[in-house]
């Protein structure tokens, strides 16, 4: 008699999600599914609204990733109204965006994903949370994390008006210029950010990389997939969160495509599976071959590890050094899903260094931060790298700028094929002979948590707060028991 186990809802995942694990008669996992709710309701909601309201509206999709939506939407408006922002506005936007990336990555490293490694993947559930992290790394470190995030949020509030739902980006620029007082504080924050990111990299090295058990887990086959990778790159093929071309590399690391976001539909198509509400994007020219990896499969990945794989380097010195160290250890491209955490820490370093660079760039004090749109709107497409991967906003409007159609392609959607494979592979590798304990289930959850998936439905689960009910069914669909 086969059994079905449902992990629902998943802990430390932004949004609803569940995992269904099906066991055979011997108690071995034969299949695992990652299921998420539909996201498209929001696109319908956008229809009939003025496009210039979209940066404010879309930033409310999720309280965790608002700045990414705000910025992708603002860039879509630049494109919609065919207006190029002044240099100062572009640089301030990029600076603001890197503040967000640093803060958000810190949230994941220390609070959402970090407990798996810092506390331990098989530690008791009640200890695998941020309080457990504090116990492991010390109170001083905890205060440093809280303090750094607070300083960044306060700075974002000074620049953008609001931290979580900024009133900042406008078509053709930003709402207000910077003054010398803010820039002075930004320079200091940049220094603190670099120090904080270096400190975090050292914490990661000391606790994770020096622990053979963790390192073996990262490099194990259970958490490895050879897929394509996509991310924004600058004109030297280096990682950039705010702007650039989308670059895709194949599982061997060879450039497969490099394109402007306006052409994304030539490269990306979406497949529908009957068991999930979410569509599965894939590389159009390679085609959908099912949930399999390798060169012949169109499944690709985004997010920190994918960004680093898809690029040829980092644009700042300390991040470049860390980038080289990681790939020297793992090979390039790195296919190990759990190396996502390592890549995320390297990106923290890049974000902090970029904040410092931009804070010291005299251009950001220029008071000309807006070019007024003069063209009639029709179609606008914008892209940024959200913490969780490539985010595309695509609007079609009438001549008055009223949205007729919207398409939001979010990071978790790009990743859904690979996440599904990761969950399935981890469950099949780890669950044998009917042994399904909390530690094993957490290690299955780790397969998706590494991607920092955000399902944007408004439910925000945090460590230890959510029960993780496991439903066990027999082959007739009868509920045998529920495990909390």
């Amino acid at each position: 008699m086969s059994k079905e186990i449902v992990i629902d809802p998943i802990t430390r995942l932004e949004g609803h999600g569940k995992i269904v694990i099906i066991l055979d008669d011997k108690g071995d996992c034969v299949r695992a599914f990652f299921q998420v709710p539909e996201f498209r309701g929001f696109e319908k909601f956008a229809e009939g609204r003025h496009a210039e309201d979209m940066p404010q509206i879309t930033s409310r999709i999720c309280g965790v990733c608002p700045t990414a939506h705000h910025m992708a939407s603002t860039k879509a408006l630049d494109d919609l109204y065919k207006v190029d922002p002044p240099v100062a506005a572009k640089k301030i936007r990029e600076l603001f965006y890197n503040l967000f990336m640093l803060e958000d990555h810190a949230l994941h490293v220390y609070i959402l994903g970090g407990p798996d490694f810092i506390v331990g993947p098989d530690a008791p559930k009640e200890e695998r949370n941020v309080v457990g992290v504090i116990k492991k790394v010390g109170q001083e470190v905890g205060l440093k994390v809280i303090g750094m995030r607070k300083s960044i949020r306060q700075m974002m509030e000074r620049i953008g008006g609001k931290t979580i739902h900024p009133v900042f980006g406008l078509p053709g620029g930003i709402s207000k210029p910077l003054n010398e007082e803010i820039v002075k504080d930004l320079k200091a924050l940049g220094d603190q950010g670099v120090e904080f990111a270096q400190f975090t990299l050292n914490v990661f090295k000391d606790i994770v990389l020096k622990n053979k058990k963790y390192l073996d887990l990262i490099t194990s086959d259970a958490y490895t997939h050879r897929t394509y990778y996509m991310g924004l790159v600058d004109n030297k093929n280096r990682v950039n969160f705010y702007d650039g071309m989308l670059r895709v590399v194949d599982p061997n690391g060879k450039e497969y495509a490099k394109f402007d976001v306006h052409n994304y539909l030539d490269y990306i198509a979406e497949h529908v599976e009957p068991w999930s509400y979410m569509t599965f994007p894939y590389l159009r020219k390679i085609g959908w071959k099912g949930l399999i990896d390798g060169e012949q499969s169109g499944i690709y990945s985004v997010a920190p590890l994918a960004r680093l794989n898809a690029a040829e380097g980092m644009a700042t010195p300390l991040a470049q050094e860390a980038y080289e160290e990681m790939f020297e250890k793992l090979g390039k491209p790195a296919h190990q899903t759990l190396a996502m955490h390592w890549a995320r820490v390297i990106e923290m370093l890049y974000a902090a260094e970029r904040i410092k660079e931009l804070a010291n760039d005299p251009d950001i004090l220029d008071q000309n931060v807006r070019n007024l749109p003069t063209e009639k709107p029709s179609v606008g497409i914008g892209v940024v790298e959200a913490p969780r991967g490539t985010l595309i906003h695509h609007y079609e409007t009438d001549e008055r700028g009223v949205v007729k159609r919207a398409n939001l392609l979010v990071a978790t959607q790009h990743n859904i094929g690979r996440i599904s494979m990761s969950v399935d592979k981890a469950a099949r590798s780890l669950i044998k002979g009917g042994v399904v304990n909390d530690g094993l289930l957490n290690m299955v959850e780790m397969a998706f948590r590494a991607y920092d998936p955000c399902n944007a439905c408004g439910t925000h689960t945090l460590p230890g707060s959510m029960p993780v009910p496991i439903y066990i069914y027999n082959s007739n669909g009868e509920l045998l028991r529920v495990i909390h």
Binding site: G41, F42, F45, I57, R60, G63, L107, I111, N129, V130, V131, I134, K135, Q139, G142, L143, I146, R149, K150, R153, T163, I164, H165, C457, G458, T459, H460, T461, L462, P463, G464, S465, M466, P467
Partner: protein
């Protein structure tokens, strides 16, 4: 000065109730010496606001009977009652984190949960049932904060 946080998301139907009640009460409460924050924030971010205050009220939506007010004033109940709340399941963990970091934790923390049925649909309108009860909800929340109940 006692702090009152009104929480919600304005585009998730009934989940906007906390924000609307906050807008209606802000002036009155501030005139009476309360510090009022109307926030679209959640979880650990709330530490920035809570730390250092001795008395904190949090007004938020909670899945349940529409319009019913649920008062929660201890961490264990908070975990249980808000474990499936739309946005703020992190509040109890935020408090635990504050304790772990030796930050000043409020001596009195009361969550005023407003029962709603639909905090998930993307909409700028509340359900009609909740809308009809708005005035009475506002007065009830005001009375609770002022210790009239």
């Amino acid at each position: 000065m006692p702090l009152i946080l009104f929480l919600g998301n304005p585009i998730y139907s009934d989940d906007r109730i906390g924000l609307i009640v906050g807008e209606k009460l802000k002036e009155r409460l501030e005139a009476e010496g309360f510090e009022v924050k109307i926030l679209e924030k959640m979880g650990y971010t709330l530490i920035d606001y809570i730390a250092g205050h001795e008395t904190v009220f949090v007004v938020d939506s909670i899945l349940g009977k529409v319009g019913e007010i649920v008062l929660i004033d201890n961490l264990e109940d908070l975990k249980i009652r808000f474990s499936k709340s739309p946005h703020y399941a992190g509040l109890s963990e935020a408090i635990e984190l504050m304790k772990a970091l030796n930050l000043s934790v409020p001596k009195k923390l009361v969550v005023i949960g407003i029962g709603v049925k639909d905090p998930y649909t993307i909409s700028e309108k509340m359900s009609p049932e909740l809308e009809l009860m708005l005035d009475s909800i506002v007065e009830r929340v005001y009375s609770i904060i002022n210790g009239l109940e």
